[in-house]
Symmetry: C2
Subunit: 339 residues, 2 copies
Amino acid sequence: MAESNRAWIFEQPPIRDDFDTALKFRDWPMPEAGKDQVLVKTLYLSLDPANRRWMAGPTYMPQIPTGLPMWGFVLGEIVKSNSDRFQAGDIVGGVGTWSDYAVMPAEGLDKIADLGGMPLHAAMGLFRGPGGTAYVGVVDIGQLKAGQTFVVSGAAGSVGSLAGQIAKILGATVIGIAGSAEKCAWLTDDLGFDHAIDYTREDVEQRLRELCPKGVDVYFENVGGAIGNAVAANMAKFGRIAVCGLTAQYNEERASVGLDVMPLLLNGCTMQCFILYDYLDRIGEATAKIAGWYAQGRIKYHADITEGLENALSAFKRLFQPGAPHKGKMMVRVDRAAN
Amino acid sequence: MAESNRAWIFEQPPIRDDFDTALKFRDWPMPEAGKDQVLVKTLYLSLDPANRRWMAGPTYMPQIPTGLPMWGFVLGEIVKSNSDRFQAGDIVGGVGTWSDYAVMPAEGLDKIADLGGMPLHAAMGLFRGPGGTAYVGVVDIGQLKAGQTFVVSGAAGSVGSLAGQIAKILGATVIGIAGSAEKCAWLTDDLGFDHAIDYTREDVEQRLRELCPKGVDVYFENVGGAIGNAVAANMAKFGRIAVCGLTAQYNEERASVGLDVMPLLLNGCTMQCFILYDYLDRIGEATAKIAGWYAQGRIKYHADITEGLENALSAFKRLFQPGAPHKGKMMVRVDRAAN
């Protein structure tokens, strides 16, 4: 067991995208596990747009306390267990911290099952969060049917890239919206999307009008703002919007560009917001389906891995930079030996 | 049969609220009924915020053509019928024009059934449009349950005043948002709302936080804009928004104040837009329920009647003026003899 620990400390909620004053990288005392707690060595740290919201105020979780390590989803190895549920060497997933080591309550952790030859990080990047969110958003919230037109924004991200592939498997025409020509080429050439729109260079509303003259049946919303309005203006009669995220406004206290509801009213559309925490009973089905599709070669999984905890912040910033290189699930390999 | 006809001619789509150049009052030729058409003498003309949208572009109806009489819902008496379905003297309802007389296709008209002693205008102000819209919005779209907290904006309007009363009958705590102290007093003192908020003098978001610390379960949205955001910020977990209208932005090409979706995302809320035309199969149940409640004295109906077709425009403008006197269903008595 290593003697030293390092952590990104959450100093204060960021103003807009000033993450440099919000997070500071420090040596940090090795924590000690108390009753029903475990000491976890972080293998992978997940970087998600939702982390930005956790900094800003209470969400489905309390606001992150200042002066302590920043929170994030992690995969880790148990070093010491004070719980009957786990023993040293177990690989677990849950909400941990941006640190080499963390003490976590045992009850919040899940043991990671055998992944059948896939790399460990697939437990964080393909199954669980991203896969569960994509599946629930397309199937339960979007209620997508074969033959419909499906649009997803943030399409090159972890959830978006899976949502589009799932929609394709379910028989939809799939259009992705992403922030660079490279990402768009990845969506159509590698992932099988029917079309992709580069919002940094194309007029999204106009392109959608051309690509879907009958309108968009299901929109998987990851970004909000101007892109959300461009899709809303193209919804089909009785279209459905599944709101998973609003990354365009995560750095704002109040939305600078709100949603124009008028086109939704004229078409009798429904917009349903969802958080995976409210659909945990659906994770089992989602995981089984995605594993099967992956085994059949019908879903591709791409991890965007940054090496080293010290580089977590620069990677996190890329989540909020239009056009920054970023494909698939963004994560940090904290333990260089992790597969 | 009168020899002369008058009409409000739709000259051009209004810029914002410049209705004076959009509509001109003129003598107009007496129309002649063709095959399967009827000549109708207008008794009552309905004035609705939706009429503003009809001017602006295609909706669930084609855009109103310029140079011809303005469209509106009417109650009228058939003067001459070229249809097997109707005969002279029948009282009918449907989409007519702002004129003393109009020729209408027989297939678009409904014969008005006996109203059991109620004034004829209740067929336009209590049943059909307003009652059907209020009932579908509360029951089908809002899915309101007893014990929940229900908020309605545009609460002193035809639909809002009925929606709040229906929600009260169904066992909800009911809060209305309206644009004057007089309207608010009417809601609480006459119609039995639990609370009313005067948005011209009170901070709606703050007042809702005080009145519903557990959040709003169902919001019946008639106005949008800043009021819509104030309610959205107070929604309960899994709350539902039934969007019936967006009067705050009917005079805008694009919403100047869009909806901040973030609080809806954090609470897993659903927003469903609806237009009564898509729920015509629900009108029968709505009418039966409302008639029963009215007979029991549990629903009050108020018609805001302007006398004389020549005064239609000044009454219509009041629909869009915050604080203008206006309670219940706004209409024009076109035939002074109508009951």
